[in-house]
Symmetry: C2
Subunit: 310 residues, 2 copies
């Protein structure tokens, strides 16, 4: 195991950064870099590139490696990066995780292999264990990515317990995108304070998560509303925190009226005056004109805008 | 579009070939090649390498390319090959499909991108369309792979109709692994006779599929029972066909008492006297000793054995 200095543990608000595409559907590293800089400038503490919102599973490993390299070479501090590296294929997860560690990333956000369903806890344990052991680097911090509505392969408390016992230090936390506060509460009560950091998967649960001992949230909406979400993460002990939470929920509610990834890209395209941002990779589809109009009208009605966008 | 001679259309019984792994979990090309030769020798008309049973989504694109190359270089007639090439990432599907066409494969078996759930028909249409257009080769034959219990992303009749109209000739058929005979019957009634070949995804439906105008089956169990399944595909008009079907069902029923992929590997390992065959890649797990014993006893009770195995 290499013994090198580790980045500080990520906390606060991380954006699962949208991936812009060109007309040829190739990832657009230039627009991605600009968006990453804007997100950090708006107060995001970190960038969970290659998440669900990033259409990361619609990218090849090579495309992800090239984008990660471009971000770091473009001046993004790797200690702010928490790239998604969990793939269906063990060999892909190992390769991408190794690259992230070598690049100095704060950690990785790791999906379970998600093709086979109803796999055993033992099979999932071995999946994560093989990645951790094959990467074999003391700097590695794995954040488990629990998103059963999409992956359809859950990461339950039994699995977490086994991983924490086997790899303390390497298994560093979880993003809970179950959408179920009872699950997040269980995670906080069971695992926080054991070197295992719980991130909510939505800013809807940010206040409750921070009050319960969690460290922040990793949320799609941070791509368009990073300032206000980050402000609540800083000011959650202040009297106006409930009002702030309600405002965040209203914006999120408007976005959730449409398919979220296409909706977020529509918002960026609109506010940046940059139609190229609307492009999604199949199997996703862009919004219909009526959906786009309804979304922008709803946000406008809430007084929402994206400040200083490029 | 390149205009070169196309292989004959696949029909009959194709095996989604098990992928053997070494102790280091690397794919074992030598054992794979030997198993492919045995399957063809036993009467399989083709080899659907890189299917669900092949643990193909647990392999990287590079690993699949290397195995495909080794099979062809090892003397497997590429016109017998129907590799799985559908990945989550458009770029991966294009790359692997292109390689299969260049290698002279009879066709490809294509999963829909399976990470995002509840995607639109339009998004799925564009996924397949982009692959077909980017590969841009008149030799390409795409067999759609409908396996909703695993992929959780179905390929419905509306999508098939659109693809058939847009890409007649390139869209050549389907493997129906829904496990639902009503769906297979609907496919046969709606699409067969339009240059669209329907394969059952299980030999349980082989007789019914052939009687309904389908062309055969692509079935996991062909890895261990290829001779008997192929015999029914040849003799399905003979009087004893119902008895043959019942015997196939009994063997399949025994295998389905355990997790199927690990079970099939256990059977090969046992009959070949080659314990290395038991290895599965995470997230799958091998059988417990009790499961293995029960499976082998059940098969033995049916008078089952694998002939001339290596």
């Amino acid at each position: 195991m290499a013994h090198q200095v580790r980045a500080a543990r990520p906390t606060g608000v991380l954006a699962p950064v949208l991936t812009p595409f060109g007309a040829d559907l190739a990832p657009d590293a230039g627009r991605l870099l600009a968006h990453c800089r804007w997100l950090l400038g708006q107060g995001c503490s970190g960038l969970a590139v290659f998440g669900t919102t990033s259409e990361a599973n619609s990218l090849s490993v090579e495309e992800k490696e090239a984008l990660l390299d471009r971000l770091v070479e473009g001046g993004i501090d790797p200690s702010r990066l928490l790239p998604g590296t969990g793939c269906c294929a063990l060999s892909d997860s190992v390769r991408l995780t190794r690259r992230a560690v070598q690049r100095g990333c704060a950690g990785v956000l790791m999906l379970p292999p998600f093709y086979y369903k109803a796999v055993s806890e033992d099979g999932l344990f071995r999946s994560f264990a093989e990645v951790i052991e094959r990467v074999g680097d003391a700097r590695l911090r794995v954040y488990l990515y629990h998103i059963p509505p999409v992956a359809q392969v859950p990461i339950g408390p039994g699995l977490i317990e086994r991983l924490l016992r086997a790899y303390p230090g390497a298994v560093a936390g979880i993003k809970d995108s179950s959408g179920d506060w009872q699950n997040t509460r269980m995670l906080l009560e069971t695992f926080s304070g054991r070197g295992f950091d719980v991130f909510a998967g939505s800013e809807r649960f940010l206040l409750d998560t921070l009050r319960g001992g969690g460290v922040g949230c990793i949320t799609a909406t941070a791509n368009v509303n990073p300032g206000a979400i980050s402000r609540l993460a800083r000011e959650w002990r202040e009297p106006e925190c409930e009002a702030q939470q309600a405002e965040l929920n209203a914006v999120r509610g408007a976005v959730e009226q449409v398919p979220v990834i296409a909706g977020l890209k529509e918002i960026v395209a609109h506010h940046a005056g940059d139609p190229a941002w609307r492009t999604v990779r199949p199997p996703l589809s862009g919004l219909s004109p009526a959906q786009a109009e309804g979304l922008l009208a709803a946000l406008s009605g809430l007084g929402f805008s994206m400040p200083e966008l490029r």
